[in-house]
């Protein structure tokens, strides 16, 4: 019959009209991310043994590690930088980490205002680290 298609279209849109809306109110509502979503990297400095396997595994060579030897002739981490602008989030660095010091989080809001801010430091210098610890204790 002529017009049955028109009525069908109208019925679909009026159904949508009363249905629950699917828009996500972003800053207030957060998306439910998949379990294995790769957002950004974090490091537990106490676990890191400065084996530099992560920087060797990195296909783009974006990880740079600084270390010094302590009195027991053990390497100690003093700096850990990642150039996130070149990161392809393959996760090789996390895969090779023998102690599980480096891990992936689901924090996906990685946008920055300036290009140099993409070079993130996952481990700050010791004095600063100390200061932060003091601050957090004070709080």
């Amino acid at each position: 019959m002529y017009g049955s298609g028109l009525l069908k279209g109208l019925s679909i849109t009026i159904k949508h009209f009363f249905e629950k809306k699917i828009t996500q109110q972003y800053p207030e509502e957060r998306p439910a991310l998949p379990k294995r979503f790769r957002g950004s990297f974090e490091l537990i400095p106490s676990k890191c043994i400065v084996c530099s396997l992560c920087s060797n595994a990195c296909p783009n060579n974006i990880i740079s590690i600084q270390s010094k030897k302590d009195e027991n002739n053990k390497k100690k981490l003093t700096g850990y930088q990642m150039m996130m602008g070149s990161c392809l989030y393959c996760g090789f660095c996390v895969e090779v980490c023998p102690t599980g010091a480096l891990y992936i989080t689901q924090k996906y809001e990685n946008a920055v205002f300036f290009r140099q801010n993409l070079n993130v430091s996952l481990f700050k210098d010791e004095p600063e680290q100390m200061l932060q610890a003091v601050r957090s204790e004070a709080e």
Binding site: G9, K21, T23
Partner: protein, 348 residues
């Protein structure tokens, strides 16, 4: 709403006494009422811009504007400021005077139709004896503004949009008039208030359902809204006849479109949906409220159709207008004539 009419009468009387010249008082009262109608139309516009956004969002399962004010209602001052803030550009090779007048013409012709549209018993600027005829005549002069805009822009897309507007509005004017003719035959009057009075027992949508459908379809084409928005046709014509306009002049075209939409909805409510007559004996609600409810019901229908169907092709549009709508509306006239004849033969 009778209190409103009483106020106007008191104001008129006071003016006549104060000035001592009845004609001057009449002119002042009429000017004030005209201003009132324009303000009423513009207020409707604020609601409509919001409503269009919100309804289109709902039909697409979105939420629409919801940041500014309750349910995003205060989006409109932002829109207005944005429109006023834009530069008023006139293209270098445009026909300058025509280009400048065109947007004003579009707005004027849209607002002039409101002279004969009653919003309640007695709530009318001028109850002309040829009310509905006047509405149709003014409605079709809007085409000239669109051609002016398209022609003076000196742009092929704008010109195509203007030509399409002319072709479309002329060919859809005919079924629109024919569909109103059935109602006019029943009431025997062109006065809108008399047509409404004639619907006290039964709304004309019931005996004239065919005419209502014809009117509905052709009025969508008249107001250049989807799915008949061939004149704008973003995908083919960029923006149609108001392609070269910016700022306040562009806003005037939008104002004209929405004003026309409200006017067409008001006519549909008056002619087919019983105007300010209350259905089911719910007379405790004032007629004005009923009228507004019916107008907004029609506007909802227009928006529902707009956000459901894709735009049809220009040759299909012409085909549909001339080969389907006009014969159907003519058949409706014949059927109405036979109906009236039979009715008279029975009742004597």
């Amino acid at each position: 709403m009778d209190i409103f009419i009483v106020w106007v009468e008191i104001f008129r009387h006071w003016l006549t006494v104060a000035t001592g010249i009845p004609i001057l008082a009449e002119i002042i009262v009429k000017a004030a009422l005209t201003l009132g109608v324009i303000i009423f139309v513009l207020l409707n516009l604020i609601v409509l811009v919001w409503l269009e956004r919100k309804l289109s969002a709902f039909f697409q399962m979105r939420r629409g504007p919801n940041r500014l004010g309750p349910a995003g209602f205060f989006q409109f001052p932002v829109d207005i400021v944005k429109m006023l803030g834009k530069e008023d550009i006139v293209p270098a090779n445009a026909d300058r005077p025509v280009f400048l007048i065109a947007s004003i013409c579009a707005f004027l012709t849209a607002i002039m139709a409101w002279a004969v549209i009653p919003l309640g018993r007695g709530l009318i600027l001028e109850d002309l004896s040829i009310g509905i005829f006047y509405f149709i005549a003014i409605g079709s002069t809007g085409t000239i503004a669109f051609i002016m805009a398209g022609f003076s822009s000196n742009n092929k897309y704008a010109l195509l949009g203007g030509m399409r507007a002319a072709a479309q509005m002329i060919s859809y004017e005919i079924p629109m008039v024919f569909s109103l003719l059935g109602v006019i035959m029943i009431t025997g009057s062109l006065t809108l208030s008399k047509i409404v009075e004639g619907q006290k027992s039964i709304w004309f949508i019931i005996p004239q359902i065919l005419a209502f459908l014809c009117y509905f379809i052709s009025s969508i084409a008249e107001t250049n809204r989807g799915p008949f928005d061939m004149t704008e046709g973003e995908q083919e014509l960029v923006g149609g006849y108001f392609l070269e306009y910016s700022g306040i002049r562009y806003a005037l075209f939008m104002v004209a479109e929405y004003t026309h939409l409200v006017a067409v909805s008001a006519i549909a409510a008056l002619v087919f949906l019983g105007g300010w007559n209350a259905p089911f004996g719910l007379t405790f609600i004032p007629g004005f409220i009923w009228m507004m409810l019916k107008i907004y019901f029609m506007i909802f229908l227009f928006m529902w159709v707009r956000w459901t169907f894709p735009r049809i092709r220009i040759d299909h549009l012409m085909h549909f207008g001339w080969k389907v709508l006009i014969p159907v509306s003519l058949i409706n006239i014949v059927l109405t004539g036979i109906g009236i004849f039979v009715f008279r033969a029975i009742t004597g």
